[in-house]
Symmetry: D2
Subunit: 321 residues, 4 copies
């Protein structure tokens, strides 16, 4: 199917309409390098199963994955060792703790972090990636992501340095995890791989493509490649719905209803599964979405991006609920 100019126009209109919402957020000040981003930016890219990209707004920006990487290391690790291996080490239960909770109530009694999207779970998952050093683990992850997006990816070294220096909270958490017996590798190694993965640079196009692959249960309908199993994709989508948008996950599910994972860089990756009974024709066959809007709200999600996705989901009937 060919690209539909009406969809393109509609997206551009919605970006304009939602740009005002950037004032509901600010850039992440606690990571100085992220704080430097331009808070007025807003962009979206949608990709359909025929390979048509619909992009509107500020989609030339590159930004770092931050917490979006948590979904991707979960998938990469599950691909390598199997879902069962991962679920033995980290649970998939939502929790009410805030994303910047410094008190680590993050351990599910008796023996697992609640889920891979809270920092305790994410650091545990990263520490388990194949490879004996954080360099090797990083290379494994990067190679996995490069296969998904089809082109080389790079780390933003300034963001890495900024996070490495300012992540007292994550260091506290990682030493706590080590004390509690969750980390097999050294704490500083675990932090290194975790902060590296957060610092990988992507575009909204990249996020749309990975989102589409997740929506298609690990399958790229454009290149007809299979990257991971339906079971893994299914659990990833469950996690995105129940925990993907920090402490607004429930509200995002209620008002948007699309599996998604956000990061404090202002990125959102969303996976729109096929919905043949949808009330509209747009994206009935599913889609991937990448959003960038670095002004984040108190929960840590792109303020304008969230509002825009709410409008898009409602207008085009994309909710899975």
């Amino acid at each position: 199917m060919q690209s539909n100019p009406r969809i393109q126009q509609q997206l551009a209109a919605w970006v304009e309409e939602n740009k005002g919402h950037v004032i509901l957020g600010t850039t992440a000040q606690y990571i100085p390098e992220l704080g430097k981003a331009d808070p007025s930016k807003l962009g979206i890219c949608m990709l359909d199963e025929d390979g048509n990209y619909y992009c509107a707004g500020d989609t030339d920006e590159k930004f770092t994955l931050q917490s979006i990487s948590k979904a991707l290391t979960f998938i990469a690790l599950s691909c390598h060792y199997g879902l069962e291996f991962v679920l033995e080490r980290v649970d998939v239960e939502p929790t009410g703790e805030a994303f910047n909770s410094i008190i680590p109530f993050e351990i599910h009694r008796p023996n697992k972090p609640f889920n891979p999207f809270i920092n305790a779970g994410a650091i545990t998952v990263s520490s388990l990636l194949p490879g004996r050093t954080s360099q090797k683990k990083y290379e494994y992850l990067l190679s996995f992501l490069e296969k998904l997006v089809g082109h080389p990816l790079e780390m933003d070294h300034d963001v890495y340095d900024s996070e490495w220096k300012s992540s007292h909270r994550n260091r506290a958490l990682a030493y706590y995890l080590k004390e509690a017996g969750f980390l097999e590798i050294e704490v500083e190694e675990a932090l290194d791989i975790y902060i590296r993965q957060c610092s990988i640079q992507v575009s909204t196009q990249d996020l749309a493509l990975i989102g589409l692959i997740i929506a298609y249960d690990g399958y790229n309908p454009i290149t007809e490649e299979k990257f991971f199993s339906e079971e893994i994709a299914q659990v990833a989508k469950v996690l995105m719905v129940t925990c993907g948008m920090y402490n607004s996950s429930g509200n995002f599910a209620a008002h948007v209803g699309i599996p998604a994972k956000s990061g404090v860089s202002g990125g959102i990756m969303a996976a729109v599964p096929p919905k043949l009974h949808s009330q509209t024709y747009e994206f009935r066959a599913g889609a991937g979405i990448g959003v960038y809007g670095p002004a984040i709200d108190v929960q840590g999600n792109s303020a304008a991006g969230t509002m825009m996705l709410r409008q898009i989901s409602k207008e085009w009937d994309l909710s899975i609920f």
Copy 2:
């Protein structure tokens, strides 16, 4: 469409297969009257959009709603005052607290219970039902439910008495809610309506019918009646996925993927939305499910019922994820 005997046979076979799992649970001992139930029971009833009931196992039993009522008071209240009214008073965020958590970490900072499915949120919702007394509130709810199921319903007075006497935990919680300013009515009134709603008797057929109506976004496809709005149904389904199965909600979503609400009586109400791209033909147009299996696991869900739903969802591809 006429009833399909193959479906009936398949369900009967699965009930047999899963009966062994009742030993993974016990009846709810902390409510003496529930403790008397026969733990070996297991039954399921599915209802399709043409009005065909497929029932297998112990489906002649009546049992009390218990926490399943939390989903129904949420819907009833939202119908009466509008969704916005309700969401101003209770949030829709999941939490990691156990169902029998006695420490009331159930209040979302700054001012709402986390969601209507934890006890703090459920008691708050019940207390807001229309009517000046708990008797009036109960009558309102009962009448709403009787319209949904199309026949009179009754309270199990023995269960009510048993819970009234043994619910120290809920009393503690309700006085805490009163102290914190969440209850406009008297504590004992709030407990009365809450325990009454928990004590309403239903059958698996009733749960299947209500489940179907939720799956059809408030619409009964058999009688062609509309009971509540799509928005309300959507939020109800989000709550069922994120918080419906107590502290296994994430695991249930990952392995079953059907919006559902359970109760400690061993009942489960599930709503299977239409899924036209499903890999099987059974229930592609959606369904309602009622399960009864009073032996509950440590999280509070029917042990064998959960296992059976896992098998059914996998075999007939019913997951929304």
Copy 3:
């Protein structure tokens, strides 16, 4: 020894000096009847071992014991069943929880309330008083206190009624204690005895006398009567130092250093043990002190009363440290 007019004059001067501090507090608004007290009142009564009372300021007022009663039920119960019996049921460890903490972190792992001065411990202690009903338990306690002070005591029924209606927090806590297995009697009975003991009316003279008896290890040096053992008095004094002034106990110990117990009515009972090496001659042989100042600070202690005791202790070198 005869009464010393210089001491009397000095106390009167200090009352005047400290009256200004009443603005640092307010009367306890959460118990409406206590809220009606005159916040400008301040009075003190000291009693020496020869029976001389030195009273200054508003010492004609009667007021209710409130939390001061926690020290007295602890002593009464220990007298009846022995210290060992009591210490098996409640620990003597301080805790950092606020006096109005609604989250009951008050249970010392694995099986005891932290101490008899937090509400969980106090309600447990009260519930154990001899007698099969709350009426009998109350009569036992009242009779014990009347022996100590040497005259009849009465309950303030308006305060009792006010607290009975407004004590949602204590009800929540008591139901929680029942659920957790700490209360052998009915919750409402336990609350009845607890609120009754809080509502007993005393004067600063009464508190000074009981304080003197505690300072003298259970012995009244004036009447030469022995009421309770040295061991009980010693543990009572430890509790007064470590937990007697709510969450300012540590600061009170550091700056005043006299075993004391306060109540939200604005009363303080203090026990000045003999200190022969004191740098001053006043009260070297010990004393009892009763203070009344109903304007309480955020921790729940008489604002001006605390400041006045700080000055007195410093000037007359009364600290045990």
Copy 4:
């Protein structure tokens, strides 16, 4: 006054009597180097105001200060900057948290660690010692302690190395403190000074001497030197009573009643203030006590040492209560 041989004999007898209690504890396994100590050791040294040392049992051993150092850095810092400076940065309120609590509930709302004897408060205090580097801070503290004991002191480098490697919990806590804004210096510098102070080697004689100086309010009655103010000594004694024995502080106060500070090395430093009305003649003029018994109980205190002090306090009437 000359040394009294009866006291010496009595102490020797009590060491023998209490040796059996070493089996109630084990050496601190979580710091491997401490775990190597001989758990059967038990020794005590008492020092009177005339300079007579009474030593019995294993008093030739040297051991590390561990948490005993918390009392000493508090005093050293208060000497240098004044008590007010210190109390602005750390409170003096007891808390119910266990010594090895990994969840840092250690911050008193809104802005101070609860007290200088929990790890959060102790690390904060150490980080404030004069000097721009941890080396300088350490030298300042060491010089202060050497003046008190009158001879050079040394660090146990093996213990330092062992703790430096195994203190994940303290690292977690220190990074948490940094994040929360309590540490002005670098985390690793703060840990370095903290672990150094814990690793300083002392004898029971040293602890007895420092205990005597604290009992005499900062004054050495033997050499007639004044080291710190009465106010500082008084707060130190309050802290020793309310928080000095970890989570048994309340019980130790109730059953022993002597201001004391223990460490997980098995050392206890106790300060017996003058008590002219004591029922016995021994140590009426006060004393200092040093105990060593490396088998520690679950709270972290020398098991046999605690029992022995209980007996001594009772027999010689040393309790301040």
